[in-house]
């Protein structure tokens, strides 16, 4: 079930130190956490959960995709999280400062299989986080991914300075920058191309629209989000329904699925 490839579970409870918490745009932040194990072991599409604050409110850990993990000689090993302020926990996170300590569980979930030499990456909103990490890994292998990145308006587009060598096409629904329209409509123009793997992450509506236009080949891998409690497959709270009617956990069996595996 889900994407079949071998993956060793390296999740641990970590205490990580905040290196920085940059405000990229209003309500949009990049949080860097110093931790050697997380930086070394995290793979694209994996996520971690953060215990925000030390009170009962917010209660549960919050899940975030890994935007980047780097262990570069001479630099502190870190993982980065790109997050949007949408509620209580993310609001509290926006006040984190360099030197603060946070409790992290991760890396969690199964990564994207890295396949093909001409990948097409389709991201919507903060869904770009896991694709950013994936694009970095392709670039490390000297493979240049094509990235289609959409948002409602220019204000919601996330700067991607580290993907300079990738081929990036932007789409905004209000036409303020790039292609005027949603990213799936833009994807229709690129899909017949010579891509040998498609990766997508974004809001559920974007992914279900993509399902309508995607051909059966090349393989299309999507990464999902669901409300989570445990993050490890213990509570069965994050289940999504598969095409055969059964359920699979997004946190453990996912978050990556083949697009045709799901019931839409």
């Amino acid at each position: 079930m889900a994407v079949l490839h071998l993956h060793t579970n390296t999740a641990r409870l970590h205490t990580a130190t905040v290196e920085y918490n940059h405000r990229l745009k209003p309500g949009l932040f990049l949080l860097a956490l110093l931790n050697t194990e997380l930086a070394t072991q995290s793979l694209p599409a994996q996520f971690l959960t953060i215990k925000v604050g030390d009170t009962h409110s917010p209660l549960l850990r919050r899940p975030f995709s890994i935007f980047n993990a780097s262990k570069i000689a001479g630099m502190a090993p870190r993982v980065e999280i790109l997050y949007k302020v949408v509620g209580q926990a993310t609001r509290i996170m926006s006040h984190l400062k360099a030197g603060d300590q946070v409790s992290i569980l991760g890396p969690l979930g199964k990564p994207y299989p890295i396949e093909g030499v001409s990948p097409l990456l389709i991201g919507g909103g903060t869904g770009i986080a896991s694709l950013h990490f994936l694009a970095r890994r392709f670039l490390d292998k000297l493979i240049v991914p094509k990235i289609l990145f959409g948002a409602r308006t220019e204000d919601e587009l996330i700067p991607l300075p580290e993907l300079g060598r990738a081929e990036i096409h932007l789409a905004t629904e209000d036409g303020t920058v790039g292609f005027a329209g949603d990213v799936v409509t833009l994807a229709k123009e690129h899909l017949p191309g010579a891509h040998d793997a498609v990766y997508a992450c974004g809001p559920r509506e974007m992914l279900s629209a993509l399902k309508e236009v995607i051909p059966s080949t090349p393989p299309c891998f999507i990464s999902l989000e669901e409300t989570m409690a445990c993050g490890v497959g213990a509570c069965l709270g994050c289940s999504v329904q598969l095409a055969d009617g059964s359920y699979a956990t997004v946190c453990r069996q996912g978050p990556v699925f083949r697009i045709e595996e799901l019931r839409w």
Partner: protein, 311 residues
């Protein structure tokens, strides 16, 4: 002076190396949290609610956070008793060797369902306790009404008791007119212990979209929000029955666990707090040891039920 207080406790004739048990439905089949957290730290592990046949569970969303609480409607998704006995229990040998007790939580639509599962469990290993979930508020067909009717509680308990030699814990729904009546009917029917509380029936509304949040409409509330109510129910039951009580509901630190022990629980279960701190068992055990040292007790059992003794 006390230097090494003992956390060992007993629930009936069964010994536990410490009084902290993972609550059913929050710790999967015992292995999911590895390698982040070691299940062998727990005194016992209650496995996910298991039914006679495989069950798919409720439509998503299945979870929503509420103030200091969590509302869930998992709908008892599980692979069924046969798979649990054949595939899940055998994976727990090292827990058993480490002295962590294995508790299998059972759920069924009627007494026959409970009996057929209990019979199958007679050959199962490792397995120390059957916990009968007479309180799952999620299943429309039954669940709630078992735990609210003393006659039904009695019928199921005595039928299961006849079918197995394993200790039976009857797990009660918290929201009943008089919890002591239900607890006594389980005791009279042969229960070895009472465990409580299960989640409280709950509803969460999405005001913006003008509909209920959970896919299955209703859910069960757990977490710190329910602690004072759970504690009251545990205290009432501990006064009313002679068999041991296993208390739970919102425990998230050693003081919370301590409160349940003082109220008369011989052991406690921790559920929602595991999601927040997977290493919670270790933290609570450390805190309890510290408490015993400070107060000069040699054993955790010395504090069980002290609240009533002071009345």
């Amino acid at each position: 002076m006390v230097t090494h207080p003992s956390l060992a406790t007993t629930v009936g004739s069964l010994e536990f190396k410490n009084p902290i048990i993972a609550a059913s439905g929050t710790f999967g089949y015992g292995r999911e949290y590895e390698p982040s957290a070691d299940p062998r730290v727990f005194g016992g592990v209650a496995l996910k609610g298991t039914t006679p046949k495989p069950q798919a569970g409720n439509p998503p969303p299945r979870l929503v956070e509420t103030p200091a609480g969590l509302v869930n409607s998992i709908g008892l998704e599980n692979p069924g008793i046969a798979v649990v006995i054949k595939e899940k229990l055998p994976q727990l040998e090292d827990l058993a060797s480490a002295g962590t007790r294995i508790i299998l939580n059972l759920s069924a639509d009627d007494d026959n369902g409970f009996v057929s599962m209990a019979e199958k469990c007679n050959q199962a290993s490792p397995l120390d306790v059957l916990e009968l979930n007479l309180s799952c508020p999620n299943i429309k067909a039954g669940g709630m009404h078992f735990g609210t009717d003393p006659k039904v509680v009695s019928k199921i308990t005595s039928a299961v008791k006849k079918a197995t030699a394993l200790p039976i814990w009857v797990k009660l729904a918290p929201l009943v007119t008089d919890i002591t009546v239900i607890a006594r009917s389980a005791e009279d029917a042969g229960a070895d212990a009472i465990s409580l509380v299960n989640t409280l029936p709950a509803l969460v509304v999405d005001v913006e979209r003008q509909r209920t949040v959970l896919g299955n409409t209703f859910g069960g509330l757990s977490g710190p929000a329910i602690l004072p109510f759970a504690l009251r129910q545990v205290y009432m039951v501990a006064q009313a029955v002679k068999i041991p009580v296993v208390g739970m509901g919102g425990i998230s630190c050693s003081d919370d666990a301590c409160a349940f022990l003082l109220a008369g629980a011989s052991a406690v279960q921790v559920g929602t707090a595991i999601f927040v701190q997977p290493d919670i068992a270790e933290r609570i055990c450390d805190g309890l040891s510290q408490y015993l040292l400070e107060k000069g007790y040699e054993e955790i059992t010395d504090i069980v039920g002290r609240l009533a003794q002071k009345d």
